[in-house]
Symmetry: C2
Subunit: 250 residues, 2 copies
Amino acid sequence: MGGPRFEPVRAVRAYERVVEQIEEAIEGGTLCPGQRLPSERELMVQFSVSRSTVREALRVLQARGLVRSRPGDPHGAEVLPFSPAALHKSMTTLARVAELSLAELVQFRMVLDSSAILLAARLRTDEQLAEMDTAVIRMRAAVEAGGDDFGACDVAFHDAVARASGNKLIQICTDVVRSIVLDLISEKIAGAPDGEALMRQSIRHHEEVIAAVRTGDGPLAARLTRQSMYDYYAGYVPPAERAALRALLE
Amino acid sequence: MGGPRFEPVRAVRAYERVVEQIEEAIEGGTLCPGQRLPSERELMVQFSVSRSTVREALRVLQARGLVRSRPGDPHGAEVLPFSPAALHKSMTTLARVAELSLAELVQFRMVLDSSAILLAARLRTDEQLAEMDTAVIRMRAAVEAGGDDFGACDVAFHDAVARASGNKLIQICTDVVRSIVLDLISEKIAGAPDGEALMRQSIRHHEEVIAAVRTGDGPLAARLTRQSMYDYYAGYVPPAERAALRALLE
DNA sequence: GTAAATTTGTCCGTATGTATC
DNA sequence: TGATACATACGGACAAATTTA
């Protein structure tokens, strides 16, 4: 019984072979960020394909955020340093085509940010704690100055927390999801600008969180984070979907 | 002071304009999955660009998982239904170029899966609970049958949990991260195949989790999930990095 | 500061294998 | 089965942009 087991062969286009080879070279470390690819004309010689094929491959690599090519650049396409831009892009389209609700995105933020703060409370260095302190001080200063920079300082705080979690993936994903959420409700926020009272309440929450981090009480910091995030975003979520958010509160 | 605020203009290539327009049509719902794009020759007329430009745009859209084109297809490129393939791809390259450690990935899984089970414990329907039960029953059957299908049944369980969480984003991300983790340690797992004892212990863990879900005790189910995941994966993580994983246990 | 050389962006034409009718 | 239309891939060409001498 049996006989040889053949694997299905997918017709692989020429440009895909080019993409694969360059991709492996970059991911494998043969090509480092800042280095240059050969020019298109040289690539067509090395791969024995036409320039159209080379260009299609470069477009794909560019869409994946691995390289960038500029017209007239005699050094060839540049290998880019790591950037979450591609992840950001695919998650944004995901949110649209999968019709993710704001509630789902906020819920995901609650999960990620509360996990980040829990880890930060247990693994942070004193220096990282100082960075969070600084961010909150700047938030307070921003309120006094009129509140224009409040949002940016808030982002700085959450980014400091994410870094202190010690997990790059958590840091990247919190950043990506946060910006998607903010994009979704930016119109509504512009319509109902942050009242000074709301900002002061947010600062109070942040100070409580920092206090919990200072004492190393991770679960408390996580709980406070989920609660303050719910308080802040629930108003933008349809009432019927708020129950799902509350499922993350105790 | 002031004067008009000008925005920096990036030189936008022709193929990008084509990508943007088709992308908006798909994300906006004008083009639905299953529908076809006009042929390349027709697209070059509608956009007033050359064939090469149209093709580069289609390559980008294909890389983002939005369309697929086959040679000879007289209906033109097909608009694809939603798929997390693009997200999977960008997160995989992210793991490589950002040099994510196995510990970071496992930690992220612990966060996501424990959050999913917490939500499932509070929001699940009886039908979804039955699906989890079925998955565990199949896991037990798989062990009796030799254990070949054990991994697949385990995946089915975690997928049922993710679905019961009610959050599509959590469902997608758990799936993506799980497959990346499994890819990373597939060699080691093949070298040290699941012992029957390990499988039985895993089943016992799953049954405890289900019991907690049945009684609606989300925090307990989440804690059990993190613990069993740590027990399962810690052996593959360098000892120095295990402390970060233990930070998620209480 | 200017001009030359190279590269990318774009266009056009053609040949070939393939899927559909 | 054949005819048609399609995507794939090739090669040549020109303009715009950039670097460099």
